[in-house]
Assembly symmetry: C2
Homo-oligomer: 223 residues x 2
């Protein structure tokens, strides 16, 4: 085990008066998994999770159950918890789902896209270059997802966005393997195409660019 960060404070002086324990654990784990901070097949224990977040097993179990329901974690037949190791078929299916959902989200966001949104996307895209420079795989995934989420938020389709995020969650640990393997040296080409299509109001171009961006990386994962 590596560093152990403790949060033994039952009451936090934060703005939120009641940060439920199980929710803190859930969010903490979810972020780590989605950003690829945990390798595929990594085993977790309820007591370990509880200790790390300074809570007992009960909230840890609830957080794990929730993540299992979203496909972010796997339960062995005996109840052991681990991040899933995806088969090639599963990866291709999830990539197809990303394409299906995100093309639709982008298409719905297009008519609502102002200049301010495009500026934000360009800012995020620029910072992707920085994390690439730093060889920061987790940072790359996080910033890349932030780019997509920023665009899709404009679609005003929360259920659809939630489903897309669920797919990201399932792909998180596997994506780490991809971006840890290939050494990128430039910001994603398709992000520029997405921004260009947004500026031009070109819907077919946008759909193609999003589909390409989503499919491109995942295809390299299937060995």
């Amino acid at each position: 085990m590596s560093i152990m960060l403790l949060a033994p404070r039952p009451e936090s002086p934060r703005s939120d008066p009641t940060p439920a324990a199980h929710d803190r654990v859930y969010r903490g784990l979810r972020t780590r998994i989605m950003h690829g901070a945990i390798a595929p097949g990594q085993a977790l224990t309820l007591r370990g999770i509880g200790a790390e977040f300074g809570v007992s097993m009960t909230p840890a179990r609830e957080a794990v159950r929730r993540l299992v329901a979203e496909g972010a974690l796997q339960l062995s037949s005996s109840g052991r918890v681990s991040t899933p190791e995806l088969t090639n078929e599963r990866i291709e299916e999830l990539a197809a789902l990303r394409a299906l959902l995100e093309v639709e989200l982008a298409s719905r966001a297009l008519p609502r896209a102002h200049m301010a949104l495009i500026d934000r996307l360009q800012t995020i895209n620029a910072s992707i270059g920085e994390v690439i420079e730093a060889h920061d795989a987790v940072g790359y995934i996080r910033t890349n997802l932030e780019f997509h989420r920023t665009l899709y938020l404009r679609a005003q389709a929360p259920a659809m966005l939630a489903m897309a995020e669920t797919v990201w969650l399932q792909l998180g640990p596997t994506m780490r393997k991809l971006y840890g393997r290939l050494q990128r040296r430039e910001t994603p080409h398709f992000h520029k195409l997405i921004i260009a299509a947004l500026k031009a109001g070109d819907e077919p171009g946008l759909r193609l660019a999003v589909r390409s961006d989503v499919t491109q990386g995942l295809r390299m994962l299937t060995t």
Copy 2:
């Protein structure tokens, strides 16, 4: 061979002698919600659920957490559990998701559809007539979903099917209101179109029929 070290299968896939308590509760509630056996806005209590299934609060809580994660249940700010009352925007979004996912599933199932599948679909479709005759709203929803699931199972896309079922789950309580309101007297027209398109191997026709079938009913729910 030393393969036996790898997979010491303790449980047969047929019948599990000891289904975990939380899983029994989860499946029981899930089925009821998906089939529209619980009205929208209905409040539930952990102790009540536990008493009903003969377990303590702990498994009940885990089952509820899982269903909340799937959007089948709602948590009030104070943690009270209830089935959600969907807004019109939400219903339309979920209908769009159904269309998106199920058209793709049907399309993938088409090249794998044998005559045996079509026969099964026709049998299910016939039994829809019976439940309509009996004015059985829950039975109608269940049989209708069975029709769709039977078709989509052929797509060999478990993640996509799981997402579609999650959408059904979210729409469950609301669907009850629809099918309880309108008095159907004949089996769904679009199911016949789906079967016809399957027989003809007509992919565009199949996509249109599925989209129509999915959209038709839900449109009446708004307002």
